[in-house]
Symmetry: C2
Subunit: 138 residues, 2 copies
Amino acid sequence: MVKDVKEILKNNSLSITGSREKILSLFLEQPGALAHGDIEKRAGEKFDRVTVYRTLQTFVEKGIIHTIPTADNSIRYALCKDDCKEGHHHDHHVHFVCTQCNTTYCLDDVVTPELKLPKGYTSTHIEVVAEGVCKNCK
Amino acid sequence: MVKDVKEILKNNSLSITGSREKILSLFLEQPGALAHGDIEKRAGEKFDRVTVYRTLQTFVEKGIIHTIPTADNSIRYALCKDDCKEGHHHDHHVHFVCTQCNTTYCLDDVVTPELKLPKGYTSTHIEVVAEGVCKNCK
DNA sequence: TAGCAAAAAGCAACATGGTTGCAAAATATT
DNA sequence: AATATTTTGCAACCATGTTGCTTTTTGCTA
């Protein structure tokens, strides 16, 4: 059921290392988004902080994961869908933060709406974050 | 032209102090949003970091300013419109970050759009941040 | 307007999140 | 199997933000 971690790494021409396998599988194992802190905790104290930072950075660059801005000022990361290529993301979906369980979801099916901006403003990217109660907590 | 700073503080039952006057006038003097760092710089090295943090916190609590989440993980603050009351904000407008000059604007006239969320999800608040080029930089 | 209680400012110390440089270890390549 | 290249881990560092406590300032009242 779990997509082969090694395969994903190879496809992105990344060398296969323990930390990359472990961190990537953390993302595959669960539905929501992960913050840096979550990863350090769930990985079981195994990796250096720096390694986690660098691994996440690498994954973002390769388009394996994408970042989600949240109001509480902590960057979260989530898996990208298959149509994300290196350096060019297509995460035009809405993100949802549950105020109960504090989980962040990618609502892949909810597309970011069009906006009528004032004269003179041109937008290249629109980020939408909805806050509320998720289906598991209601 | 500049609204009386002392008046605003009084209306919110805040004591009138040097730092509050100074910081509040910084917001009134310019159109965009300010991050904590901006304030420390523009105030001319006069205030302690802690004072700035606490002043901003107080202003947020009183509904004088509101926070804007941004992708680069730094909280920005902007003036609230008049209909914001203590503990109850009405900042249901879109925010805009210019990638050229890095200014954050409140687009007060652009209302956050409605969203159709998946079954089971209930949202209490929707945050929209548009990224692009502003009218001064195009 | 002097005096006093309450609030705010300033300072030190700490916590967290994140980065950089470098040496040691692991990976990929022939 | 041996070497060149990556990646890791460590130490040190920086930025951002918080907490506790003392000193100063403010607002109020006599």
